[in-house]
Amino acid sequence: MLEIKNLHARIEEDGTEILRGLNLTVKAGEVAAIMGPNGSGKSTLSYVLSGKEDYEVTEGSITYAGEDLLELDVSERAAAGVFLAFQYPVEIPGVPTMTFLKEAMNSQRKERGEGELSTPDFIKRVREEAKKLEIDFNMLKRPVNVGFSGGEKKRAEILQMSLLEPKLCVLDETDSGLDIDALKVVADGVNHLRSPDRAVIVITHYQRLLDYIVPDTVHVLSKGKIVKSGDKTLALELEEKGYSEIIEQAA
């Protein structure tokens, strides 16, 4: 589903290279966890996958569902099924959440040649998904993420993911800011989306999330490269030994 080869990416503005020859393959149906120290490039990878223009890919390739992902712009990637749950969801004053959700769903449907959702059908879907994620529907009457608590923002990201039904989900530290109960609710939401034709990349620092969303593979990112890959036991090993020992061993 996703094949990243020798990916080099730098910050457009000042030319600092952040990803330095990253290789990663994620198959359809797979849940891949990416772990790594602060500043190792995890969020950068998620942004590069979603097409953020602040980063420039200087070398390497990203193939998604058999196509060159780098040829697509941000909204085309979203319509093609790439979804990033942001580490820091953005507050957008003045844009009502419901208006935003409806536009997002309909523009993706349109891009895929499907008809627009009727307003009642749309509201029904949002209500259903919000309920599963224990999100108060009234919260969605507010502008996008504005005044949401840290945990509410993360839930709202997963709500969007459930509504948009992407093919490749990238969750960037979705567990940070969630209380223990919320973590379970959100993990349930993600597990619900697990399917043979969908891939999930979970970026996290903590085993706790991986207890709920059990990964098929675990990858350690350090200084812009995947330095070690393994199965779910690698996460436990990391938890036990810390990054530095594992990264040193790998070097």
């Binding site: 097409g51 223009e53 909204s75 003045g94 844009v95 891009e111 948009l164």
Partner: protein, 420 residues
């Protein structure tokens, strides 16, 4: 001081004077007004009040006095622009002339269709007053009876019929004490017509009355508008004014408020959408003369392409006007490299116990907002429009008449389709 004798007139000035001479407009007040215009010439940027709108260079010719159109032509010209408010009772002005289409006015409202009295000064900064004084043909005096609660909206609709008409009119509205009433004034015209629209409205609000007034400026792409709204507010009067401007090519809209009764609440909110090569100037003066009054003024401006916008907001608080609470904000989104907006807040405060605040901001669309929306599948255009709409939405959300707000929201969407 330049004298009229050695002044070289511009095409615009020549067109004005020729129009006056050809029109058989008589009366001392008109003669004095045109004499002042001849004496001063149109104001240039050297005149402080016109610093950002050099009327002398911006007002080109291509207009002349138009005769009263036939009812048939007048109707046709109006039919091109569907009404903003269903069920309003509308007074129709065409090329500056009043045309009676027999629309019944609701109980409590009486209309006499004569040209109301007005006063002007010879001051160069008062060019719009002189222009209206010299040229106004059609007029109406609207009286709202004391204590009337008028549910029906009163419309004042200005549309050109002839091409290149110099359309000047004057409306005086006397709102009786303790009344409630709603007005929608709209200037609208076709593109490709270089008409000059110079409307003046005097609104006198008596004690305890509450007025909602919406001014919609939808002049054609090639039109010029030099308009003035003057308002006097008596004790405990309330005015909620919305100004929504989409164009013309050159728009100068002056808004003057004299707060002369205690307990006045004045609320002004506007949206200026400035695209193409349009120049839109809102110049407002709020004069707090007595204690215990409030005014708020908020403008949200969206400027793109080669548009130029101006907001001059003057607030005066006289020495006796203690406990004045005056707040003014002017926020602008600049969407292109070639557009421009000048904001000039001006506070003149002579009372010591007052709260006055003003703020002007200029920004571009936030990249992080744009990215977030696009990352959810919105096309760049759609994302930009959603953000622009959010920016101006606050003004619409606060409007009294939700149906009108909805209609204007649709107009804004249509504008964004073409400009954002």
């Amino acid at each position: 001081m330049d004298s009229a004798l050695n002044r070289v007139y511009t095409e615009g000035e020549k067109a004005l004077f020729a129009a006056f001479d050809s029109a058989n407009l008589s009366g001392d007040a008109r003669d004095e007004a045109i004499a002042a215009l001849k004496q001063n010439g149109l104001p240039t940027r050297k005149v402080e009040a016109f610093h950002y709108t050099d009327l002398r260079s911006l007002l080109r010719g291509d207009f002349t006095i138009a005769h009263v159109p036939s009812h048939e032509d007048a109707r046709k010209a109006g039919a091109a622009f569907p009404r903003l408010v269903d069920g309003a009772a509308v007074l129709h002005f065409r090329d500056g002339h009043f045309l009676d289409f027999g629309e019944a006015m609701p109980a409590g409202i009486s209309v006499s269709t004569r040209l109301p009295d007005a006063a002007t000064t010879n001051d160069v900064a008062n060019a719009l007053g002189q222009l209206n004084m010299a040229f106004a043909t059609g007029g109406a005096c609207i009286t709202v009876d004391a204590n009337a609660k008028v549910a029906q909206t009163i419309g004042i609709a200005h549309t050109p019929v002839a091409t290149q008409s110099l359309a000047a009119s004057r409306v005086a509205i006397e709102v009786g004490s303790k009344t409630e009433c709603t007005f929608v004034e709209r200037g609208v015209g076709p593109d490709g017509n270089t008409y000059l629209h110079a409307p003046a409205t005097d609104l006198n609000i008596a004690e305890g009355a509450s007025v909602t007034y919406t001014m919609v400026i939808e002049e054609g792409a090639d039109a010029r508008r030099l308009g003035r709204l003057s308002v006097w507010l008596a004790k405990d009067a309330k005015l909620k004014l919305n100004v929504i401007a989409f164009g013309g090519k050159l728009v100068r809209q002056e808004l003057n408020f004299v707060v002369q009764g205690e307990g006045v609440e004045l609320e002004i909110a506007g949206i200026n959408l400035i695209g193409e090569e349009n120049h839109i100037d809102i110049t407002s003066r709020i004069d707090h003369q007595v204690p215990d009054t409030t005014s708020t003024e908020l403008f949200r401006n969206v400027v793109t392409q080669r548009g130029r916008g101006v907001f001059q907001g003057q607030i005066k608080v006289a020495q006796p006007a203690q406990h004045t609470d005056a707040r003014m904000a002017c926020n602008t989104l600049l969407l292109s490299d070639d557009c421009d907006f000048s904001a000039k807040p001006e506070l003149e405060i002579f009372a010591d116990d007052v709260q006055c605040a003003h703020g002007a901001t200029v920004a571009d669309i936030e990249d992080s907002h744009l990215f977030y929306l696009r990352a959810r599948g919105l096309k760049e255009d759609a994302a930009r429009r959603l953000l622009v709409k959010a920016f101006v939405g606050e003004v619409l959300d606060e409007m009294e008449d939700e149906a009108l707000a909805e209609t204007l929201s649709g107009r804004i969407d249509a504008w964004m389709e073409r400009h954002v």
